[in-house]
């Protein structure tokens, strides 16, 4: 998405997903688009922000840790995670974080 996420007053949670792609990216872009659309339909979803240069960074925002866990366990998302590990990513990091304060301009 191309706008900043409009999140509610903290506290809420986020998943910071940072990655580097492998040389095998066939199907990656389409899956990314699909997963972003699917995420927006999940209970507790608050927003998502993405950018990629050499590193890819996607931050998704959630009402609770339970919402994050349910998204992690979504069947279609599990397939995407498996494809990502097996083919698309050379490395990644996932950080589950609690947003305590925020400021906007």
């Amino acid at each position: 998405m191309t706008t900043l996420a409009k999140t509610p007053k903290p506290p809420y949670y986020c998943v910071i997903f940072t990655s580097r792609l492998s040389n095998d990216t066939e199907g990656y872009a389409a899956m990314g688009t699909r997963m972003e659309a699917l995420a927006t339909t999940q209970a507790g979803f608050l927003g998502i922000e993405s950018a990629r240069e050499e590193l890819g960074i996607t931050v998704s925002y959630w009402q609770s840790l339970e919402a994050i866990k349910a998204w992690k366990q979504n069947a279609e998302h599990i397939e995407a995670q498996q494809m990502g590990k097996a083919r698309w990513y050379s490395e990644f990091a996932i950080r589950i974080s609690k947003v305590e304060r925020d400021y906007f301009m």
Copy 2:
């Protein structure tokens, strides 16, 4: 930086800075490079990851909220913040977050 941040075992803190640029970006890239280099010299700094497409996302990692506060109040960083608000950004969000769990591949 072009590698994923090598952070210690949680908990630790991060600043998620997301932004959109204005049409006036003169001096922005050089300042970004300078601020990233300066951040790495601060007490409690753990790592930084950045990417920009339509959105820019920079996540910096810190040992403590005190380290984040000290960085926010760094004199040279304050100048950069003022330039950013006055000229370079059309909008931004800053989220101070506590990383509770992480996973790496």
